[in-house]
């Protein structure tokens, strides 16, 4: 009987499909789907695929797996393997892995402390694409490259010898390594201030100044230039092949050598792997799925259908893979690539390097000084763990506070009569309020209290240490950076206040003016205008943000298109604080004025017409009418809207994050987006981010108290 029950249970477990999460799209997704179907047919197991938005993938894994809600297998690049291993999210698979089946450097990319986490699926690295009509033979070294470039480039015709996303360190790395640069010292700490760094930056800056490469190139520009034959060569990865127009004949070459050092330019090597969740309930089957996905027919499908470069050695024996020139070329390029370390140090390098690169290529920083700039940012982001503190003083303080609060509410002399007698309406009121209060308590106040608590901890690799107020001290003392630097709390606070103030001022100004215009009794088609003008409000704000980001695009944006149509120079919007801030401001003004317009319209309607008639009789000018009647009577309606509007703007994360992304160098970040970066982009420093949030909250609290007092004072004065 029991045996039967167990058998049924086991069957029940079997019926549940294995979960596989990924962020693939297009051909990569199609090849994965086919491989999974093959696996299902062979093993008899069911697999459920979940395709996720790339941006949400990492944080979702970190939330879901520890809570037992995650996948059995997931596909991720190797950069975060160490972090995942430390958090106990991925399982080591050494026992099931046959090492000889993969390229050795793909295995070492997945190693953490002597264990291998995951089955390598494909390689990603950069190589040199060349338009064969313009570049029949690949350059051997940078001397040849330079000669070729000067022949192929023409500033007047807007043609370039080479195009790549020069502001991104991933694309600059081949130059750095080619000049003999090392990114990490013997102790594993990142080093930036080196001669090779300066030389590589000077080399690229030279190319840009001679107009051999386009400045501020984005992926979209690179693609357009190459497809139009205006860029003879492009540095990009395997994914670029799918973007090339069918009419363009091209070949993929390994990088040339740097003539000065004699070393080859070496790109970063990234490895995509099938990782097995450490919390999978069926580790055997999960590992089987991951292994099958990395080998054999799945690897061949990945090469032929997905345009990926398999990490499986024997995949290249297959005739279909052999005759694919793209896969072969990238396999050759990957052989000399530098495996990207999977350390936390590596994750910390991107932001400082982006700052240095953009500083040199767009901001006038000299190549010799850029290394020091990056180094300083790196050290500011790398916060030493504060020393652990004892939680007892805080616990005692908290209890004392609670006791005092309770005394204030329930203590003191008891008034006569029972509570319900004194407050006859309280019973009914509580019954009405209870559902909403319960909801807010559980899903708003509790998470907030939780966040407050976290602000007293330091978080690193899944381990929380109690550090008391150390996070707050670091933030308020601006430790590691100057007060007037974009990373400093005070700088960000000033930007945030400027942001909130200028937005609300513009919203009210535009909204109120429009409302006054729409109130004009002589205006025809009033309803039409009103409908038209609230459109921005109806569009989800992340869509608005992405659209405006596209409109402010340096080369393809509508705004620069307009400027050019008017005969003006196009503006590079995100390289200077003023223009980047203006871009954010324009976006948020566009989406925010309708709310104020509607509020003002309603408020204007509620002002009795007789007042104006009386004023008319008394001979008041229209300005006097506005000043003496409209404004004072509008105030009570507008003030709450202004307070609420400023709170919303203060925390308007989507616009800042999606439009300027904090560019240049984090200068346009506001407090919320800065907190988000500490939490999700700088090695999950949740405690530090929570401390930021508490400070945001305190600032807003102070601000609303201030406005309340100010408005109360103003009302007193009016009486």
């Amino acid at each position: 009987m029991t045996g039967l029950l167990l058998a049924v249970l086991a069957l029940g477990v079997h019926a549940e499909p294995l979960k596989l999460w990924h962020a693939y799209r297009g051909g990569e997704e199609a090849s994965l789907e086919k491989s999974v179907a093959l696996f299902e047919r062979e093993s008899g197991l069911k697999v459920e695929l979940l395709a996720l938005p790339y941006d949400a993938f990492g944080s979702k894994l970190q939330a879901a797996i520890p809570h037992g809600a995650g996948p059995d297998v997931f596909i991720f690049n190797h950069e975060r393997v160490r972090q995942f291993a430390r958090m106990g999210i991925v399982a080591a698979v050494d026992e099931r892995l046959k090492r000889e089946e993969y390229f050795p450097n793909t295995l070492s990319a997945l190693e953490v402390d002597g264990k291998t986490y995951g089955f390598p699926m494909s390689l990603k690295c950069l190589a040199l694409y060349a338009n064969t009509a313009l570049v029949p033979k690949a350059p051997k070294d940078t001397a040849e490259l330079r000669a070729l470039l000067s022949k192929l480039s023409s500033a007047s015709e807007n043609r370039f010898g080479l195009a790549y996303e020069s502001g991104d360190f991933y694309f600059h790395a081949p130059f750095l390594f080619g000049f003999g640069g090392e990114l990490f010292d013997a102790a594993g700490r990142a080093v930036f201030d080196t001669a090779a760094m300066a030389k590589s930056l000077a080399f690229v800056l030279g190319l840009q100044q001679e107009r051999r490469i386009p400045s501020e190139a984005s992926g979209a520009l690179v693609k357009a230039l190459f497809n139009e034959g205006r860029a003879a060569m492009v540095i990009s990865g395997p994914w670029f092949a799918g973007e090339i127009a069918p009419s363009v004949r091209y070949a993929v070459h390994p990088f040339p050598k740097v003539s000065e050092s004699g070393l080859p330019m070496r790109p970063f090597l990234g490895v995509e792997a099938a990782l097995v969740s450490a919390k999978s309930e069926r580790p055997e089957q999960a590992a089987k799925l991951a292994r099958v996905l990395s080998l054999g027919e799945a690897a061949v499908l990945r090469a032929t259908l997905g345009g990926q470069v398999p990490a499986n050695v024997s995949a290249y024996d297959d005739a279909r893979v052999k005759k694919d020139p793209l896969v072969g070329a990238f396999k050759a390029a990957a052989a000399t690539a530098t495996p990207m370390p999977n350390t936390l140090e590596m994750a910390r390098v991107w932001e400082p390097m982006k700052l240095a690169l953009r500083g040199v290529l767009q901001g006038g920083v000299s190549p010799e000084k850029a290394g020091a700039l990056a180094d300083r940012r790196y050290r500011a982001l790398y916060r030493e763990k504060p020393s652990a503190a004892s939680p007892w003083p805080y616990a005692v303080l908290l209890l004392a506070g609670l006791a005092f609060g309770l005394y204030r509410v329930f203590g003191g002399p008891k008034p006569a009569g029972s509570f319900w007698r004194r407050h006859p309406e309280a019973g009914r009121a509580y019954a009405y309020v209870a559902p909403a209060a319960a909801g807010i308590l559980v899903l708003v106040l509790l998470p907030f209290a939780f966040g407050m608590g976290i602000s007293l901890y330091h978080h690193e690799g899944g381990v929380y240490t109690f550090v008391g107020l150390a996070n707050f001290v670091d933030i308020l003392a601006s430790r590691g950076y100057r007060l007037a630097e974009p990373l400093s709390f005070y700088f960000t606070l000033a930007v945030t206040l400027l942001w909130a103030f200028s937005n609300v001022a513009l919203h009210v100004l535009i909204g109120l003016s429009l409302a006054l215009l729409l109130k004009d009794p002589l205006l025809r088609m009033k309803g039409f205008y009103r409908v038209l003008l609230i459109i921005p409000w109806a569009i989800p704000n992340y869509i608005t943000a992405l659209i405006w980001r596209g409109m402010f695009h340096r080369q393809f944006g509508a705004i620069n298109g307009l400027l050019q149509a008017l005969g003006l120079e196009p503006v590079s919007w995100f390289t200077r604080f003023s223009t980047a801030f203006a871009a954010n401001l324009a976006t948020n003004t566009w989406l925010g004025f309708p709310f104020m317009m509607v509020v003002s319209l309603g408020a204007l309607q509620s002002i009795p017409g007789e007042l104006y008639e009386a004023a008319e009789v008394d001979g008041a000018s229209s300005w006097q009418q506005f000043r003496r009647i409209t404004l004072p009577l509008l105030k009570p309606a507008l003030l709450p809207a202004v307070i609420l509007g400023s709170v919303w703007t203060f925390n308007m994360f989507n616009i800042i994050y999606l439009v300027s992304g904090g560019e240049p160098g984090g200068a346009t970040d506001i407090l919320v987006s800065e907190a988000y970066r500490w939490a999700f982009q700088r090695n999950e420093q949740y405690g530090f981010a929570a401390a930021y949030s508490v400070l945001i909250f305190a600032t807003l609290l102070a601000w609303s108290a201030l406005t309340k007092r100010a408005s109360a004072g103003a009302e007193e004065a009016l009486r």
Binding site: Y54, L446, F448, V531, G557
Partner: protein, 269 residues
């Protein structure tokens, strides 16, 4: 004149998106002209007709999920907000002031950083990966604004009406449901619209809390088009239009109420 100019500025980005959605290319192109030179419905067809490996119609499922969550959010949110706002407007009781303050203050919490605690709490409540759990989170996050607005509107409705009804033998809750609620229609419409919008437009929580492709809402599906290496602008624009149109429709249907409902709430807020 000024009005026409502002209207043009308002419309320009919208036209630009329509152009992106209708142009055959998948990328941006430099041109100030907001009208497409060549019209194709390829991107709309691709977004509307996408299906997964098992041949299930993705857009239909996403739409259904979005509608379910938004409708549930509206109903839950409205039910919670109406009762709470009425109590705050009509009754005097200990905790009233504190409650009102809490509502305003709760708008000051940075929402992005509540993600992790909310995840843990929903897991305890066994509400992860369910549209119900998502609707519950949405309705509580939009609750403070809804209560605040409704309370302001209730304040403008004279008490005499209810008192007369109670005199005539109606129970207090009957006076609330039969007298006050019908009078508060504009505010109810606006509140419903906001609750609906909160749920319809949100994607960070949705992408984090849902683990099942059949439960994904439209914004999550849309977010997939903005990838690591490239943005599929044509499809994104088409999707953006499809996501925005229902909310725009609601706005236009309710715009008469919008002016009245929103402001009365503001006046006494």
């Amino acid at each position: 004149m000024a009005l026409a100019l502002v209207c043009a500025a308002t419309l320009y980005p919208v036209l630009w998106v329509v152009k992106l959605a209708l142009s055959p290319s998948e990328s941006l192109s430099l041109s100030a002209n907001p009208f497409p030179q060549e019209v194709t419905f390829r991107h709309f067809a691709a977004v509307l007709g996408a299906s997964d490996s098992a041949g299930r119609w993705l857009f239909g499922r996403n739409l259904l999920a979005s509608l379910t969550v938004s409708a549930a959010t509206t109903i839950i949110g409205l039910a919670l907000a109406v009762t709470a706002a009425y109590a705050l407007s009509r009754f005097r009781f200990p905790g009233r002031e504190a409650g009102l303050q809490t509502l305003l203050i709760s708008q000051m919490f940075p929402a992005t950083l509540m993600l992790i605690p909310i995840y843990a709490i929903l897991q305890r409540l066994h509400l992860l990966n369910s549209l119900g759990g998502l609707a519950l989170v949405y309705s509580t996050t939009s609750l403070p604004f809804c209560v605040w607005m409704l309370k302001g509107y209730f304040d403008t409705i004279p008490r005499d009406l209810e008192e007369a009804a109670v005199m005539d033998g109606a129970a207090p809750w009957q006076a609330f449901v039969l007298i006050v609620l019908p009078l508060a229609k504009p505010a109810l419409a606006v509140t419903a619209l906001f609750s609906f919008m909160t749920a319809w437009n949100e994607f960070i929580l949705a992408a984090t809390l849902l683990n099942d492709a059949s439960l994904f809402t439209l914004p999550v599906a849309l977010q997939r088009l903005v990838g690591e290496y490239r943005v599929e602008w044509g499809k994104f624009a088409a999707g953006a239009i499809l996501v925005s149109v229902p909310v725009m429709g609601l706005f236009f249907a309710l715009q008469k109420h919008l002016v009245g409902g929103l402001t009365a709430g503001g006046v006494k807020g």
